[in-house]
Subunit: 176 residues, 2 copies
DNA sequence: GCTGCATCGTTATAATATAACATCCCTGGC
DNA sequence: GCCAGGGATGTTATATTATAACGATGCAGC
């Protein structure tokens, strides 16, 4: 199927933090998997069927998913038996390739929207609809580095996790 | 339970992020416990012996401590029996009073250095010495709020956890 | 002293994560 | 084809973190 050509040029932000509740989500998944294929191929990393399946499961929604939820879905959707290490190893690989993020405050995982660039993780989580979104704002990361530097602290990794209410949920634009 | 907002402007730098490795740590503990006594008394919250003991355990070091470590120390130091809920309930109380923070990326807890003011949590964690320190820099929190606002996102809570190397460890000034 | 409620004790179990070792399977060399 | 080597996965067991549910205790106010 052809997709309608947009009347407007691409928005200023390459990826708005939260997509509209009604959007072409199949497209999100396809894009993420294609990007993952490309990135892994370029690195000689093996995005096996299992790993790809786990990544696809994480991309089914914009909500962080726990390892045991992934496990359950994986077991339901395949003939193969699955135990926790199976899932944790796949997640470990995907984390290592920068294809997903771990949401520390939820013990959960979510697909990375910018897997092609190494970046500090900044995640907004909506307490109303449960979705999470990455913020493509490197200024915060830089500010954190600068702030830490005033204490002589050298930053290696930083995680910023923000809870609140997303625009759609604030304005009552909910999925029907 | 509500927390009072600070009436006074914060000092320029009330506490350097990391104290020197050799410092009067007994003083840290005393200060923290006295502040906790004062704060709880002012709110009519009951800082019981158990809760005070748990807080003291967390203040014994500047490293985040897991709930089961607290449990072990508590059991070793008292005649009372202790089970996980005992510790988790005390931690929950202390979190609620803003006397400690949860370090999400470590599943651990650490005493709050600024319990008198409601504030966003920003923690630096040294991968070399294991210590963690709060950053008294509200500019980052404000920048995060502003950044989120450009997406129409209203921030309720934010957690910033930064891993890296502290000044002492970078310059080789280690505890003897 | 009684009553009511917060606190704490106790038991059991849920939820998250990893260790250790066996097996499978792809890849490259012959 | 066949084998050796190593990465990936399967399997079993267990470690670690956290909470549910209910009973006992004890303190504050009457």
């Amino acid at each position: 199927m052809k997709r309608k050509s947009a009347a407007l040029p691409a928005p200023a932000f390459p990826s708005p933090a939260f997509p509209p509740h009604a959007h072409d989500h199949a497209h999100c998944i396809d894009d993420a998997l294609l990007a993952a294929d490309r990135i892994c191929a370029g690195r000689g990393a093996r995005l096996t069927e299992l790993r790809r399946h786990v990544l696809a499961i994480l991309w089914r929604s914009h909500e962080p998913i726990g390892a045991y939820d992934v496990l359950e879905r994986l077991a339901r959707e395949t003939r193969r038996r699955a135990a926790p290490p199976t899932v944790y190893r796949a997640l470990e690989f995907l984390l290592g390739q920068g294809l997903i993020h771990r949401v520390e405050s939820r013990n959960a995982f979510i697909g990375c929207t910018r897997p092609d660039m190494n970046h500090a993780v900044e995640i907004l989580m909506c307490t109303a609809c449960g979705r999470a979104a990455e913020v493509p704002d490197s200024r915060i990361a830089r500010a954190v580095r600068n702030s830490a530097a005033t204490f002589g602290f050298e930053v290696q990794r930083q995680t910023i996790e923000v809870s609140g209410v997303c625009a759609d949920c604030r304005t009552g634009d909910r999925r029907g």
